[in-house]
């Protein structure tokens, strides 16, 4: 077998050295009744690289790749062009096949990269510090809520209706077990989110308020007033960013008073990947550093006085503190953090701003175009590269119909909020630098024709 270097003769020699008559002798601790005889049943035997490759090509062809059709999905995962050099670099064996940098003398590559990543994330978010990554945005969001509980010693988290419903679900699932209280209601198809409405809900039991920026419908709201109110109650403001590219154009949450900013970093470097692996971003103010979850890389010196980097503050972590750790996270999302960081380095300040401007301008054009379709309304007053359409029909039906015509038209809110009748006609449409004018035209034409023929059906 191509991945196994031992030859039969090696095995014999090694057994001899060990003093075991055969391989079974090494499994002597396994009780008789638990031992399997012969190969595992119901599974095929080994296959050549060619055969495996062919099997996967066959399965891959059953999926509609975004590259092959007009594509408008967002809602927490965005399609951006990732420069070819990113994927080239993350495949360097020294990055790809390294472990967590526990031996810093021979892991300075990963460590320095993490230090740079932390700095990039902190600057993007407008926070003092950032960690070395979480699994994804949704788990980062829950970890932020836990951190707020730890800091405030209170158990009530207020989640904005604009927070991604999966993030809300994760928090609700976890809170059920940790006995935290979650306050949340579903959004409405309205131009404004609930940022103002939240003000009234904050009280002295509140550990934190969580707002998404831009929110699940693409709306953008100033969180400064919220921050003031939250802070007045000695609670924390947590901001969630699912589209980091937006921060190339928008005032960062940290500047508006958010204490913790978490996000999904997938947009930069990582790709869609059907939902994972992604990379959770986690930034906060300096004063909360010792309450942060996850790994942190810090600067130090070596025995010769040369600058170097190490994992630090690990007394927060499970491998040292065990049940008293700030989180149970161990393996995080290192390689995705690398991809994010390389993409960010290629962009730089100027590139990220240009990318953001391009996304926004394209989205504005697309919104204007789609708004021309009879029966279609744009819900948003503000948006970055994603906005919500209010349609005269259930969006889910339209999404499926258009998918049959090889147009991936957006995310129907029914998929995300199956119980909410008031959202069923909502379609969230994302537009990025990868969306061409022609894509928008195709969508507009197809949407119009679907609506027209549905109108006819109804009128018949």
């Amino acid at each position: 077998m191509r991945y196994l270097p031992l030859e039969p003769a090696d095995r014999q020699a090694m057994l001899a050295k060990i003093g075991a008559p055969d391989i079974d002798a090494l499994f002597a601790d396994v009780p008789e009744e638990a031992r399997l005889d012969g190969p595992i049943r119901d599974l095929p035997n080994h296959a050549s690289e060619m055969a495996v490759d062919a099997a996967f090509r066959k399965m891959a062809r059953k999926n509609s790749a975004a590259a092959d059709m007009p594509f408008f999905l967002g809602c927490g995962a965005y399609r951006h062009h990732v420069p070819a050099s990113v994927d080239h670099l993350i495949q360097r064996g020294e990055f790809l096949t390294a472990y967590t940098p526990y031996q810093p003398e021979i892991a300075q590559g990963t460590l320095q990269m993490l230090f740079e990543f932390q700095t990039q994330v902190a600057r993007l978010f407008g926070t003092d510090v950032a960690n070395a990554s979480m699994y994804d945005g949704s788990t980062a969001c829950w970890e932020a809520i836990v951190m707020a509980r730890r800091i405030t010693k209170r158990g009530k988290a207020i989640l904005s209706s604009g927070l991604h419903p999966h993030y809300v679900s994760v928090a609700k699932t976890m809170a059920r077990f940790t006995r935290d209280q979650i306050v949340h209601s579903a959004p409405e198809l309205a131009a404004e989110g609930d940022t103002d409405g939240l003000l009234d809900r904050i009280d002295d039991d509140t550990s934190c308020v969580v707002v998404q920026y831009p929110d699940i419908l693409g709306r953008i709201a100033d969180m400064s007033a919220l921050a003031d109110k939250v802070h007045a109650h000695k609670a924390l403001l947590i901001a969630v960013v699912t589209e980091p590219v937006a921060l190339g154009a928008l005032t960062p949450p940290g500047e508006m008073g958010a204490d913790i900013v978490v996000g999904e970093g997938q947009s930069l470097g990582v790709g869609l990947n059907f939902g994972g692996p992604y990379v959770g971003l986690f930034g906060c103010s300096q004063k909360y550093v010792r309450q942060m979850p996850g790994r942190l890389c810090g600067e130090t010196q070596d025995a010769e006085g040369k600058r170097g980097y190490v994992l630090t503050l690990s007394t927060r972590e499970q491998h040292i503190r065990r049940e008293k750790a700030t989180s149970n996270i161990c393996t995080n999302s290192g390689l995705c953090a690398l991809a994010f960081s390389i993409h960010m380095t290629l962009l730089g300040e100027a590139g990220l701003r240009e990318l953001a401007a391009l996304n926004h301008a394209k989205a504005v054009c697309a919104a204007d175009r789609l708004a021309q379709i009879p029966g279609v309304e744009i819900v948003n007053e503000s948006f970055f590269n994603e906005f919500t359409l209010s349609l005269p029909l259930r969006a889910r039906r339209i999404v499926r119909k258009l998918a049959d015509d090889r147009i991936l038209s957006g995310v129907s809110l029914n998929r995300l909020y199956p119980g909410e009748a008031g959202l069923a006609n909502g379609l969230v449409v994302a537009v990025t630098e990868t969306t061409s004018d022609k894509d928008v035209e195709i969508l507009a034409a197809a949407l119009q024709s679907v609506l027209e023929s549905a109108g006819e059906e109804v009128s018949v």
């Binding site: 991945y3 196994l4 050295k17 060990i18 391989i23 002798a25 396994v30 009744e33 399997l36 495996v52 490759d53 996967f56 066959k58 399965m59 509609s64 975004a66 050099s85 670099l89 064996g93 020294e94 990055f95 390294a98 472990y99 021979i106 590559g109 990963t110 230090f115 700095t119 600057r123 945005g137 836990v146 993030y167 699932t173 940790t178 928008l250 005032t251 790709g271 869609l272 990947n273 692996p277 790994r295 810090g298 070596d302 010769e304 006085g305 049940e323 750790a325 996270i329 161990c330 999302s333 380095t345 290629l346 962009l347 730089g348 391009l358 926004h360 394209k362 054009c365 948006f383 199956p418």
Partner: protein
Amino acid sequence: MSMNNQGGPTRPDAVRDNAEKPATGTFTGNRALMLEEPLIFEIGAAEETGVDFDEAPETESRLGGLERNRPIGLVGLSEPETVRHYTRLSRMNYAIDLGLFPLGSCTMKHNPRLNERVARMKGFADIHPLQPVDSVQGALEVVHRLGEWLCTLTGMPAVAMSPKAGAHGELCGILAIRSALEARGDAREVILVPESAHGTNPATAAFAGYRVEDIPATPEGRVDLAALEERLGPDVAGVMITNPNTCGLFEPDMKRISDAVHAAGGLVYCDGANFNAIVGRVRPGDLGIDAMHINLHKTFSTPHGGGGPGSGPVVFSEVLAPFAPLPFVEKQDDHYVLIEEETAEDHHESSFGRMVAFHGQMGMFTRALAYMMSHGADGLKQVAEDAVLNANYLLRSLEDVLDAPFGGSGPCMHEALFSDKGFAEGFSTLDLAKTLIDEGYHPMTMYFPLVVHGAMLVEPTETESKAALDEFIGALRSVVERAKAGDETMHAAPVHAPRRRLDETGAARKPILVWKEPEQAEAAE
């Protein structure tokens, strides 16, 4: 995983200004192919970039008046500089691709390159998690087939695919246990965890709202069954047992442990991080366990990537299956359906809910399934056998020079555990590890598990050749002999690596976690 000095960070002896600075003799500080590299912030510039874009159409901003009006503080590099920066950084890393990486418990095995290719096929890499399910049937097929492989290999009836790594899988399992107990109206509060367990086990139990208590070990490095039985009772929700355990030993009493826990009304979580030792030879399902996570990034070779991403699917017993989290994939005739919020309502009401956005680590699923299909049923069994053979070969080739605390009790599984007994006064596992670095090896896991003094946990994996093991044995023996003889030069090791020993104490005392412009950094002093 590893820790320095019993969990305390190291501070090198010789942090003195300019002390012992060995002249590289170069003006640049470079040593031929070992190149120094500044931070991007020191070489990049705000206006520099490594990308080009089409021009944006002229539009009016609809950003709600929140246009950014201060610089972000990022720097860019052109593409050539970017490629060079990260290439240079990469060269400061050790990796499996360079040599033996015997980190016990971490399973640093070869990462096949076919799997990288497969994961990047646009049909997997360029699809959105919220596309209509009819447009992602191939992706759902991968998830489903991988789940089937995992169920068959473990002998368990159900699997949850969404957990993002091992610790997240543990959380998934513990939440299912708690849900099942609560569904019975049984509000138990304690999870028992052996002292030798990986730190994520107690941390997970606590994260899920449980109290954690230790289970003691026998002198042979196994769970003390009698002590465990004694502790079981109506407050014990369950146990978390690692099998093979973190001493590299199979728990021969596993079935009896399970039976005892079940008899006392609890449930059994198994940490399956070491499943690689037994895949194809033992089905955990036959040992009475209720939930077990599998680190695809260990047993099934998805790359560790310098710290992730991983993937930690969890297999469940019949008892726990109804409580598995959303989403999951079901096959209905020739069609795959995704059971999530929209579709779950009616027929999966006891699910404990969603623990992550979207559907799990697709990019790891493709890799792991490609690995499994490549090996097949026959190959996977050989994987376990070769892993165990390699570990025992190391154990028996080293035990005359290194103390193997459990070596007398029989063969080990996939990893061999040693202690620092016999080292000269003042010589530690840390010194040995750092000296191994100069010899061209990544050290083994140090100071874990906690039950052994100066523990060294050596996991070679099945992807090492006998020649590679022999070379490693030679190097390790030479280093051990130096540690026993009290060779002072070991305290200075490593000397050939990109950096000498680093001041971890200093780093933690006054953490510098982000780069600051020199003026700012000074002001912050």
